[in-house]
């Protein structure tokens, strides 16, 4: 049966869901974005518009492009919209039970061989899929934030994912202008598995008093041409999320290299979750701009 990609269901209007929705709409596809309530819909829509306005202020988008993007996104509170979608992506938090429930709802409504995508960086696609009536149509895609500019997406094959479903997920990634990295299921895949120990090590370096957090970040950022240092990356990702991933990788693999740095645990326990709470390793204003930028970190020509 032929499969064409026009309508995309996205479950969850959080940061990742909005970012994927924006990218998908930008590429001319229709999106239905599901949130849990009308209030959540309003909040999600407001946040999405705000991020589009921010991009307009940065000259990356025009007002008419913003209008076109918004016109392709339909906000809903029910799963029914998935029935006429060619692919569905869940983007809710890394909660096994919640994701499993969503998969069931989607599975019940969507045409048989249309892919259902789990967006996860650590959970097992196979385990989530195995409790579903058609596990072979479930595939993982690990999008990296912000989806509008990050050029890579990991496409994750579960034990039971069929070739045709997997190929459709790869095709979807290409249509979004992304480079698909084909990975087999393993906690952390490539990106999360490699970046987390780096971030964890940066935290240990601070904790052991080798250097100030800002200097650790500057050294890595300028030394390896990263766009930001590992600690700022952790702050922006959310220290609570980083800690959850670390714990999960640690318990899945049993490897001591994934043991979360005690300093990370301490910050999270204190409610200092990074940019979204205004304080993590660094301080941030309401627009999530760092308030402590060092003179050495100013851009310069040549």
């Amino acid at each position: 049966m032929s499969w064409e990609l026009h309508n995309v269901a996205i479950i969850g209007g959080g940061m990742m869901g909005r970012s994927i929705a924006t990218k998908v709409a930008q590429e001319g596809l229709n999106v239905c974005l599901k949130e849990v309530s009308n209030e959540a819909v309003d909040a999600s829509r407001a946040e999405l518009e705000q991020s589009l306005d921010h991009e307009i202020a940065r000259f990356g988008l025009t007002n008419s492009e913003k209008k076109a993007i918004l016109s392709r996104i339909r906000w809903v509170t029910q799963f029914d919209c998935a029935a006429d979608c060619d692919i569905a992506i869940e983007t809710v938090q890394e909660d096994f039970g919640l994701k499993r429930r969503i998969l069931r709802e989607l599975d019940r409504r969507m045409v048989e061989d249309h892919p259902i995508v789990i967006n996860t960086s650590t959970l097992s696609i196979t385990e989530l899929a195995s409790q579903n009536s058609c596990p072979e149509r479930i595939v993982g895609m690990h999008f990296l934030y912000p989806v509008t500019t990050t050029r890579v997406v990991e496409v994750v094959r579960g034990q039971l994912t069929t070739d045709s479903v997997y190929d459709r997920a790869v095709e979807f990634a290409r249509l979004l202008g992304k480079v698909p990295i084909k990975v087999f299921e393993m906690p952390g895949f490539v990106t999360t598995r490699v970046i987390l120990p780096l971030v964890n090590e940066a935290m240990h370096t601070v904790m052991e008093g080798v250097a100030e957090a800002a200097d650790v970040d500057l050294a890595i950022k300028l030394g390896f041409n990263f766009t930001m240092g590992p600690l700022e990356w952790a702050d922006r990702t959310g220290l609570d999320r980083v800690l959850n991933w670390m714990k999960h990788l640690h318990s899945e693999s049993g490897e001591p290299r994934f043991r979360p740095c005690p300093m990370l645990k301490r910050l999270v326990r204190a409610g200092l979750h990074g940019a979204k709470t205004g304080q993590g390793f660094f301080a941030y204003d309401a627009n999530r701009r760092r308030t402590d930028r060092l003179p050495d970190d100013k851009p310069r020509l040549a």
């Binding site: 001319g28 000259f59 988008l61 025009t62």
Partner: protein, 419 residues
């Protein structure tokens, strides 16, 4: 003969059916039988509009997922008993396709063969947003009308006669050989038509004259046409160079780009969008990219609208001076495009103070000429100034006739420079 002219964009197909042949061309008696377009290809509410002179416009909606469907729809409507203009689709004698970029491969219009398709594909790297949909339009039309000739007419072809000293940039030569980075110029079909038609109005042999054609529309460019050949043009490697435009910067110091990327930490995408969509009349004035609105705001005392307007006209003037110098004089200046045809203010400001080089405008005539064809210089003006509404579709249809009759002007092969 009846010629279908197609301009296929990424999500639209514009079409015209034009009746013309050698006799009609010479008598300037080409007839446009129908015009129209299909918009929003790839959506479930694609729209077709058909306009036939003397009838009410016809429009319809349906789901059209790709160019093939759009062109089949166009042909079906053209041959429709009620709203169409053809008895049968086989009445179409030939198809002319607009192709944006012909690179260094095409200096004139050609019949499309598999080799030509291959060359156009090769040029896609230079026009990634335009050549691929142009080709999709061709494939679709060719499968619907496989037995008639299809002709490609390139935006860049006319400017292939530029000499190397005007088309090369002052960057390391190996970047030209490796990436074909050079000035190509655009709007070639329009510049060529306007030069031809303007000379016809003046009963001149264009192959004896020095002309400057000024295309001021959404995009803006000038061409210096020395005895029938384009010797310079203001757009360059891309349509961003040259004049100030609605939302495009035109000329600026290229060092601004890396400076902004460093200081504002702008990404490649942001800086590109800034220069193409946030700049020009719109970016400077903060009011509008539309010249009519700008002229109004300026009359109301809006300072930034005023300076944007003056920048726009000033650059046109600068290029006219430059091209007169480049050709060692100028016999006529022809204005065209939405702004060139409809804005007496812009024409007046752009030519103001050029009496020393023989350009004198008849103020009342200039003020009254909006949207038509005519001369706006004084009887005594040494340089003739005309307004000539452009017609790219007609030029494409005429090129089809020329190619099929083997009378496509063949310019000498473009100059090549070897390392």
């Amino acid at each position: 003969m009846k010629i279908l002219v197609l301009n296929s964009g990424s999500s639209s197909v514009k079409f015209q059916v034009i009746e013309t042949d050698l006799e009609r061309m010479n008598a300037h008696d080409d007839r446009t039988l129908a015009t129209g377009q299909v918009e929003k290809i790839g959506m479930d509410d694609s729209r077709l509009v058909l306009k036939v002179p003397g009838r009410d416009p016809y429009s319809d909606y349906r789901e059209i997922l790709e160019h093939r469907g759009a062109i089949e729809w166009v042909l079906r409507i053209l041959a429709d008993d009620e709203v169409g203009i053809l008895d049968d689709v086989t009445d179409v004698d030939a198809v002319g396709h607009r192709v944006v970029h012909g690179g260094e491969s095409f200096a004139s219009s050609v019949i499309i063969t598999p080799e030509v398709v291959h060359e156009i594909e090769e040029c896609s790297v230079l026009a990634p947003l335009h050549n691929p949909p142009n080709l999709r339009g061709y494939y679709a039309a060719h499968s619907a009308l496989p037995d008639v000739p299809h002709v490609a007419v390139f935006d860049t072809a006319f400017h292939q006669t530029m000499p190397a000293h005007s088309f090369l940039y002052g960057i390391p030569f190996q970047l030209y050989t490796k990436h074909a980075i050079r000035k190509y110029g655009f709007h070639g079909t329009s510049h060529r038509y306007v030069a031809f038609r303007g000379s016809q109005i003046l009963s001149w042999d264009k192959d004896e004259k020095k002309l400057i054609t000024v295309h001021l529309g959404n995009g803006c460019s000038l061409a210096a046409i020395d005895r029938g050949k384009s010797v310079d043009t203001s757009m360059g490697f891309t349509p961003l160079e040259g004049l100030l435009m609605g939302t495009r910067t035109g000329d600026m110091d290229p060092a601004i780009v890396p400076w902004l990327m460093a200081m504002e930490e702008m990404t490649l995408h942001q800086v590109n969008t800034m220069m193409n969509k946030h700049s020009g009349l719109y970016g400077v004035s903060g009011v509008s990219s539309d010249m009519r609105e700008l002229v109004e705001a300026r009359a109301g005392g809006h300072q930034r609208a005023d300076v944007a307007f003056r920048m726009f006209c000033y650059r046109v003037k600068k290029y006219i001076g430059a091209y007169a110098a480049a050709m060692g004089g100028v016999d006529a200046v022809f204005f065209t495009g939405g702004i060139g045809e409809n804005s007496p203010e812009v024409r007046e400001w752009a030519l103001e103070g050029l009496e020393y080089m023989g350009i004198e405008i008849d103020q009342p005539i200039n003020d009254s000429l909006k949207g038509g064809e005519g001369e706006i210089s004084t009887d005594g003006s040494r340089v003739k100034v005309l307004v000539v509404p452009t017609n790219e579709e007609k030029t494409i249809a005429r090129d089809v006739v020329r190619v099929l009759n083997n009378i496509m002007p063949t310019w000498e092969p473009p100059e090549t420079v070897s390392p």
